[in-house]
Amino acid sequence: MKNKYSIFSLARNAVTYHENWREAWRSPEPRKGYDVIVIGGGGHGLATAYYLASEHGIRNVAVLEKNWIGGGNTGRNTTIVRSNYLWDESAHLYEKSLRLWEGLSQKLNYNVMFSQRGVMNLGHTLQDMRDIERRSNANYLNGIDSEVLRPEQIRQIVPIMNTSPHARYPVLGASFQRRGGVARHDAVAWGFARAADREGVDILQNCEVTGILRHNGAVTGVETNRGRIQAKKVGVVVAGHSSVIASMAGLRLPIESHPLQALVSEPLKPILHTVVMSNAVHGYISQSDKGELVIGAGVDSYTGYGQRGSFSVVEGNIGAIVELFPVFSRVRMLRQWGGIVDVCPDACPIIGKTPIRGLYFNCGWGTGGFKATPGSGWVFAHTIARGEPHSLNAAFTLERFSTGALIDEHGAAGVAH
């Protein structure tokens, strides 16, 4: 492969002052039509295109992104990756994704810096602990690594945490998934884009879909600000804007779009070596490789599309972090931002067909879809290529909201990242 990334190619290119690196992906003009159009150049959309090409040999594919790829939630999230979900359906889907993460840098030839430093979910009440036991036992039986930690063990792994029994909500225990961790979000978008491009996929940035073309109950293409583009199959992966595209196709989705904020501190020397999440003391935290504390909590409770949130949510969030980590009180908050997340009533995604032939939706990942990026793309590519869901996403239909076959992950995912 030309321009393969490695320490050797870096050295080789250093000699020529790095002037010979090729574009990571091309910026072609849209063609008249494609076999498949993927709307949304986030991680999920790009992964879908990559797997369509690499797993199913469908290479005549375009990814349409209204701004710049990875600029939605993919580039705004706090990058927690884990698979310790409660219900079988989600556990299997996220575990598939985690397995893909485990070889992703090599497969894409792009270092996505997947760092398996462990994810800890704290329990602060007796009911928290019952839920942790339940989820950990289920993970174990689903073949997913999981441990239940006692406060002494937690103290060993994260000595700076306030584990005092006199805390307002003392830490009673935790679940711990060692294979969980964090990754570099931008690199995930760029790595998938580059790998998809290499397979022949056209990545069209600044290309906003403004209409879904249909004929006789089947999709025929899309209208965009760069003209009309035809396709018999269209996959929609636009996260917070799913309802907007759905309404272009005359559909309604059971989704609410909420702002979700995150923030970082100034960079510090390494001090926190694992990811810590807490539902009762509402917040979660990890430390990036650059040294920033990366922090988040729950959604702003109103709905909207403005990618910004309220200060009160930040206050609550930082209060929770200082409560758990009193040594961070004098650390300073650098920057805050927000994304728009697509929240489903049962906190689980919708991945599959719609009443319109050839139109597929992949949405509803809400506050926790980054970890699913490779898995989501993988099953969605399968669904589009075959016209039928894979067994891993068969349960995540749109119909479940009428049949009632919900997969309620709320209990397991109060802070659902």
Binding site: H18, N67, S105, N137, A167, D289, F311, G319
Partner: protein, 1004 residues
């Protein structure tokens, strides 16, 4: 090294107050009024930092919030504070600071080897390598992490406290420079409630380092006059050391006020910082401008500084940052500083001006002062090391500033003062929702149209002349007051200032060095993140062409200075590479905070065991404490969990409590259950819609158990509701669900059923409730209450009576959650303890035993009563619980339709069952997953899980409740709890009822 660079006089430092401080272990001295940066410069300390990637030595560049380099750690122990900027640290006696990089030391930094490998480490190199072998990534990462990061988080908890204020004002003025001061004066005179915040220790802004006279006064004196006028206005609040860090929707702004960091020994009662949460009717952004550096080879060497910073150090701090200074500029403003230096009798080696024919009053003055001006020249490179510059190399440049015509040799100097123009501080405008627009004249972004009630003025608005700033400030203040509805006269005289004709700026984004791009010394754009011109070009070449991609790929602007110096240059360079106009590609998003804010301040007082979340205690909490109760957190409530006697284990205590209740008399504090008053003529209809069962026929004085569903048909909450009067009901909810249920019902009332005349009030805290349970409960109540007939017929199960218990007005319910004959007594919370005490005394002979939530759970589980949230999880229907009987067929209610959906009607749903372990002494862990046979391989099919599990003292064997697929039809069959620790516990499925299945005991 120790040669002082302090000039003999001048500056607003207090020279009589000598302060000593240490930096990296060495003692130095400075004066009151110094910043750490000015004091370090005065002591000729050149290198204060090592850069992020290449570990190059770095010195002080700026004089305020824009400073990218001089990041230090201050103090130690519980006072350690990482990542402060030396330019913003006010000096005090005994201050200790360390640099946050450099290993083993700042002077000799071994990581500087990275610099030699520099060519191997272009932007984004880490995306291209460290991939193989896979398992080594965590090893690489360990070293990457170690090399990264700035200061160290403290290791001790913070002893300082922080406060918050909420405040409304008519006009919030951000920035106390000449523009802001005039705005405040005008708004204040118009009668507005004004807040003026400035991040510096005193008001004055750029005037603090100015020598120009205003209205015939020295700048300092003029500032003092205005400040004293403002101080006399009762409705004006002046906030020094206060940064407006965030601008949110609805004109909500956040001010971070720092109150003690500058003090040597702050009064411990003082709060370290305060957050002002401001709702402003109008905002005036008088935020000034930040000088833009020039981008040339080795422009990061210690000794290269902003011209404005040189001016500030001289005029304000009496420090001459060097003995021999060269200026490098593309505009007139730097000439002002040259003149200041000349006036102070200092040597200015030369001015290197990129413009081939600069015209302007200041230039003439400099020329006549005899300072050489190299017109049409650039600095192509500099030489120097950790102790400062030695020389700069200059060359003639062509008219379009992109080609070197001839090299002109060197100029010896120890400081190079640079000016590439000015960037208005548009951050808050952008945060408010505005879109900054590119302005060709100043080659930078200016505020665009306002989206919220804000206006920019002065340098922050691209108005650079002092006279214009004063005028614009006054006008902005006057209009803001007007727009805020004030009618007072906001007119102010504009003081006279000297003004001069200025030549125009000639933008230059990258200074050529006569070599092909990327060759020669690195040209830094973002000093904190070591982003170079070559990095930007590489990013563009590789397709990272959106400004946001550029930012993310090269880390441009991601530092703690948020790119205050580098961003505009970087974006312009990208535009240039792409052959586009800078205005076309736009800026990256400006996000809060403007400058970093202490976590502790944002958290405020709402931390710690007392204030993190309110602790709710019942009226007899103290009694529980005195009697040795262990507590459980349920929602915000502290509930007695069990009451161990000395030496008793939890199991022993719970066993004793259960048996006493079953055999004689137990007493439980049940106050924490949610209580909601429901009043109004449509109350029954309302309940009928909220609950699954029928409420139209409930008689006064009777109560009924109800189940509430979500719209999805899943059990949401439960409780007993009683009818107190004609249009008056009292609902009880679960302890944890009370707030949610109230909000839920209000939502339905307000948004869907506004026509229903129903009024809800939470009364949870108004009542003290105790449950007296056990075969002797009737006896004790009869003893304590004479005005209620407790006979079974007169006071049947599920009814309520009003009366007097132990002399206290009370409502008494005959309901039971234990299966025993039981009464619940409700009295005003104020009487709680005396009621409790009276019952305890009266019950002594009956061995009355207080029991906690654990015994309560055991007793109810023996009966198979569910706890919502423990035995249900949001996926359980009434049918799953075997409670189809409670869903009335004759009416609709929330969630009912969902019960007839395909999946909710499914046969094989998980259903509530009882489990008994084969070994009766083994108690199944709650949360255990159940299988039909022990798993040999994984994933293994699970059929359910244990929701509640206890050892039953009355039955002398373990009992459990579980949800099991198709469980009701599997009575007698086996399931296996296979646990994460490897144990497998077999159990038998049975009815979810273990004790007194016919409910005989409560009927007596």
């Amino acid at each position: 090294m120790s040669r002082s660079l302090r000039v003999a006089n001048g500056g607003s430092i207090r020279r009589t107050r000598l302060l000593s401080f240490s930096f990296n272990g060495t003692l130095y001295s400075g004066f009151e009024g110094d910043t750490l940066a000015s004091a370090l410069l005065a002591n000729n300390v050149r290198t204060v930092h090592r850069s992020f990637k290449y570990h190059r030595p770095r010195g002080v560049v700026g004089s305020g919030a824009e400073e990218p380099n001089s990041i230090v750690q201050v103090g130690s122990g519980s006072k350690a504070t990482p990542n402060l900027r030396a330019t913003q640290i006010e000096l005090y006696d005994g201050l200790t600071a360390r640099s946050v990089s450099g290993w083993p030391s700042l002077r000799v930094d071994l990581y500087a080897l990275n610099g030699l490998l520099g060519r191997l480490l272009p932007a984004g190199f880490y995306y291209k390598t460290f991939m193989r072998p896979r398992f080594l990534w965590s090893w690489y990462e360990h070293f990457i992490r170690k090399a990264a990061g700035l200061g160290q988080a403290p290791r001790e908890a913070d002893l300082d406290h922080y406060d918050k204020l909420n405040i409304h004002c008519d006009v919030l003025i951000v920035g106390g420079g000449p523009t802001g001061l005039m705005a405040a004066r005008a708004a204040g005179r118009a009668g507005a409630r004004v807040i003026m915040a400035d991040e510096q220790a005193e008001m004055g802004g750029s005037l603090l380092s100015s020598t120009a006279s205003i209205g015939g006064k020295k700048p300092g004196d003029w500032v003092e006059t205005v400040v004293s006028e403002l101080t006399r206005m009762p409705e004006v609040i002046l906030l020094p050391r206060s940064t407006v860090t965030g601008y949110y929707d609805h004109n909500f702004l956040v001010i971070n006020e720092r109150r003690t960091d500058h003090l040597e020994r702050p009064d411990p009662r003082l709060r370290r910082e305060r957050i002002w949460r401001v709702r402003a009717s109008q905002v005036v952004l008088a935020t000034g401008a930040i000088e833009r550096p020039l981008v040339f080879s080795n422009n990061d060497k210690p000794g290269v500084m902003l011209a404005s910073a040189v001016s500030t150090y001289l005029v304000r701090y009496g420090v001459l940052p060097g003995r021999k200074i060269v200026f490098f500029t593309n505009n007139d403003s730097a000439y002002q500083t040259v003149l200041q230096l000349v006036d102070a009798g200092m040597e200015v080696v030369a001015v290197v001006d990129v413009r081939s024919d600069p015209q302007g009053d200041l230039i003439q003055q400099v020329r006549s002062a005899g300072v050489p001006i190299f017109e049409g020249h650039v600095v192509v490179d500099v030489r120097g090391g950790t102790s400062g510059l030695r020389m700069v190399l200059i060359a003639r440049v062509n008219k379009t500033l992109d080609e070197i015509l001839s090299h002109k040799g060197e100029l010896r100097c120890d400081v190079l003062a640079v000016s590439g123009g000015w960037n208005p501080v548009v951050h808050l405008h952008a945060q408010s929702g505005g879109k900054p627009v590119f302005n060709e004249e100043c080659a930078s972004f200016l505020p665009g149209p306002s989206v919220q009630n804000e206006r920019s003025a002065g340098a922050g608005n691209g108005t650079f002349g002092l006279a214009d700033c004063l005028r614009e400030g006054a006008e902005a203040g006057r209009r803001a007051a007007q727009d805020a509805g004030l009618t007072g006269d906001g007119s102010v005289d504009i003081p006279k200032v000297e003004s001069h004709v200025e030549g125009s700026l000639h933008p230059i984004w990258v200074v050529p060095n006569g070599l092909a791009e990327g060759r020669g010394g690195k040209k830094f754009v973002d000093l904190q993140n070591d982003t170079t011109v070559a990095d930007i070009r590489l990013a563009a070449r590789e397709g990272y062409r959106s400004v946001e991609h550029l930012k993310r790929y090269t880390a441009l602007g991601f530092g703690t200075d948020q790119g205050k110096l580098g961003n505009i240059n970087g974006m312009a360079i990208l535009a240039d590479v792409l052959g586009q106009a800078p205005g076309k590609i736009g800026t990256t998003t400006f996000r809060p905070n403007y400058t970093p804010v202490t976590f502790g301040a944002i958290a405020g007082r709402e931390i710690g065991s007392t204030f993190f979340d309110p602790t709710r205690k019942t009226a007899v909490h103290q009694w529980h404490v005195e009697n040795g109760a262990e507590f459980e957190d349920v929602g915000q409530w502290k509930r007695p969990w069990y009451y161990p006697l000395p030496g008793e284990t939890m199991n022993e205590a719970v066993r004793r409590e259960c048996l006493a209740t079953r055999e004689s008399l137990g007493i439980l504090d049940a106050s924490t259950l949610g209580k909601i008053e429901i009043r109004g003529p449509d109350s029954a209809e309302f309940l009928n819609r909220i609950y699954t069962n029928s409420w139209l026929t409930l008689e006064i004085g009777r109560c009924r158990y109800g189940l509430m569903l979500g719209e999805d048909g899943m059990v949401m909450d439960d409780g007993v509701t009683s009818r107190i009067g004609e249009d008056h009901y009292l609902m009880t909810t679960t302890t944890g669900g009370a707030a949610h249920v109230l909000a839920w019902m209000e939502r339905w009332l307000q948004t869907e059923w506004p026509h229903l005349r129903v009024y809800l009030t939470s009364v949870t805290d108004h009542w003290f409730v105790t449950s007296v349970a056990g075969p002797n409960s009737r006896e004790i109540l009869t003893k304590l209450c004479t005005d209620i007939d407790f006979s079974a017929d007169a006071f049947p199960f599920m009814s309520v009576r009003a009366g007097t218990v132990a002399g206290i007005p009370a409502r008494v319910y005959r309901i039971s959650f234990s299966g025993e004959l039981a009464y619940e007594i409700n009295v005003s919370a104020n009487y709680g303890r005396s009621l409790w005490q009276a019952i305890m005394t009266a019950g002594q002979s009956l061995n009355i035993t207080p029991y906690g939530t654990e015994a309560m759970h055991v007793l109810r589980a023996e009966k198979g009563y569910i706890i919502v949230g423990q035995d249900t999880d949001g996926s359980v229907t009434p049918g799953d619980l075997g409670m189809d009987w409670i869903v009335s067929n004759g009416k609709d209610c929330i969630g009912k339709r969902s019960l007839s959906r395909q999946d909710t009607r499914r046969e094989n749903r998980k259903q509530l069952v009882g489990l008994t372990t084969v070994d009766p002494t083994l108690v199944l862990p709650e949360g255990a997953q159940l299988l039909n046979e022990p798993a040999k391989e994984f994933p293994a099919p699970m059929v359910g899980h244990v929701t509640s599990s206890y050892f039953s003292p009355s039955l002398r064997h373990s009992i459990a409740l579980a949800l099991v697929k198709g469980g009701r039809s599997r009575e007698g069959s086996m399931v296996y709890a296979q646990l994460i620790d490897g144990r497998v516990i077999p159990a038998t499925i049975g009815q979810p009822k273990f004790f007194d299945p016919e409910n005989q005991r409560q009927k007596v």
